[in-house]
Symmetry: C2
Subunit: 267 residues, 2 copies
DNA sequence: CAAAAGCAAGAGCACTGCTCACATTTATCT
DNA sequence: AGATAAATGTGAGCAGTGCTCTTGCTTTTG
């Protein structure tokens, strides 16, 4: 009634309330996610917590899947930010330290938000297909950090020897001169495996070679496997999870970083 | 009425029917699992498919969790058998071939039964805690196969150099003489990480040393990470999944197998 | 000021896991 | 053989879920 125009900008009291409710829904959803887990996420329960009737929540969130998508995007951001902030405090030339920061950053984030981690890297939620146009880009954020580390490692000439992993260097030159895998195994076609990735805009500017990217993927897969294994308890009761992770993290790091600080080809 | 005793042995018609129904339930449950996924498993739907009333199924399966446990144990058996049969066809002295057989065995099983794989290695089913006394032993079956491979590899003197992974050999001797991890990283305490495992009856007879076990765990974690990543699509659309898996499998194998078929300490 | 758009509320549908009381069938004991 | 006990089938019912639709009310907008 007596409200003048200056205190009622285009975002009117209605729009403001809507934004507040939407945010509140996300907050409550995150709380439920943290305590109950993803599949137990109930729109009705959220509505109840917010003091609104069950059907009312559909004014703010289209469906349960929509809510999940928002949480996923949110979690990707959260994890990437956690990893990034852990990574950025170590000096750029401390390559090993940066790797360890990435690994520990991801792990401690996962331990702190196990359900969020599950949402991102666990089995897909039933009857839910993540929309690639919304979860695609945020999903690569933490991998992108790892890529910059691989690039810097290569630039510093400290990239580990691909032969150590059974990945031949010659496979990049000629396509039919494939490298023989671990002692008489069949062929490993590096270019087929990771070549198309390198043509991706995300990598094109880095000038990475297939072997280096493959090494990076090994490190990433091993790291993610280590965290997954711990969060999901796949190895049963582990006596000293910290020590075990340290071992796996070190091993994963050694796939991209030469261990002794010297270029791989030196004696 | 005219049935004589010879056609009615101790397993009477009632027990036989019960066994049949229980088996049938598992069959239908597996079918639902394959088509709908784990979280969509509905006892009512199964009962409906079996032509019995919804409450009737509780005469045969205690609860939904009980059904899940049976499926999980079943899947562990199925996967272990798949891996084992793939592994057993390659000659015992072809160590690399055995590793590849294990990896491919697990992967093809997972690709053929994605929901079963999810049940075992995906995010835990909400509100379900796997009873360790029933899922514990079957869960280690395929890992056990890998352990025998590591043991045989050591016996053949073809174990990869632990230093390649940044895992020092001296950490087994003195406890405070810890190995420095990748270039100036903190300590890696191998004994703390895997020592207690070695005291386990499963390993005690093998005489494995901590470094070798750690290498095995690296291989396992990387392998499982690779399969998980593919089944769950964690890397987005991969151009050539077979080639990528080949790369990761080879890399994982190189953590336990010396690449050139020679003992690690030779020039 | 009136029309339009946004919102809260409630009823309702189809589904879930699970329990309970009741009737029927089968196995076992006397 | 007959009584008794155990196992099995049936249907109703409770509390919960996602989601839709209609009915009124409030805020914003022309």
């Amino acid at each position: 009634m007596t409200a003048d125009a200056s205190t009622a900008p285009p975002p009117g009291k209605r729009a403001r309330n809507r934004a507040a409710v939407e945010a509140e829904i996300l907050v409550v959803a995150r709380r439920h996610l943290a305590t109950e887990g993803a599949a137990a996420l109930s729109l009705r329960a959220i509505a109840r917590d917010l003091g609104m009737v069950s059907s009312g929540i559909y004014r703010y969130v289209e469906s349960r899947d929509e809510l999940l998508t928002r949480l996923i995007v949110d979690s990707y951001r959260s994890s990437a930010q956690a990893v990034r902030s852990a990574h950025d405090v170590v000096p750029a030339d401390d390559l090993a330290g940066r790797w360890r920061a990435i690994g520990h950053g991801l792990r401690t984030w996962a331990l702190r938000h196990p359900h969020d981690f599950t949402l991102l890297y666990g089995s897909p939620v039933p009857d839910y297909e993540a929309p690639a146009d919304r979860t695609g880009e945020p999903g690569t954020a933490v991998l992108a950090i790892l890529v910059t580390l691989v690039v810097d490692t290569r630039d510093a000439g400290r990239l580990a020897d691909p032969d150590q992993l059974g990945l031949g260097v010659d496979s990049t030159a000629t396509n039919d001169t494939r490298h023989q895998a671990v002692a008489a195994g069949p062929a490993v076609d590096l270019d087929a495996a990771v070549g198309p990735f390198l043509r991706d805009p995300m990598f094109a500017s880095t000038g990475l070679d297939p072997a280096a990217l493959a090494q990076g993927l090994c490190a990433w897969t091993l790291l993610l496997g280590a965290v997954t294994s711990e969060i999901f308890g796949q190895l049963g009761p582990v006596p000293d999870p910290d020590a075990l992770f340290e071992v796996l993290l070190t091993a994963a790091g050694s796939t991209i970083l030469s261990a002794n600080g010297l270029p791989p080809t030196s004696p």
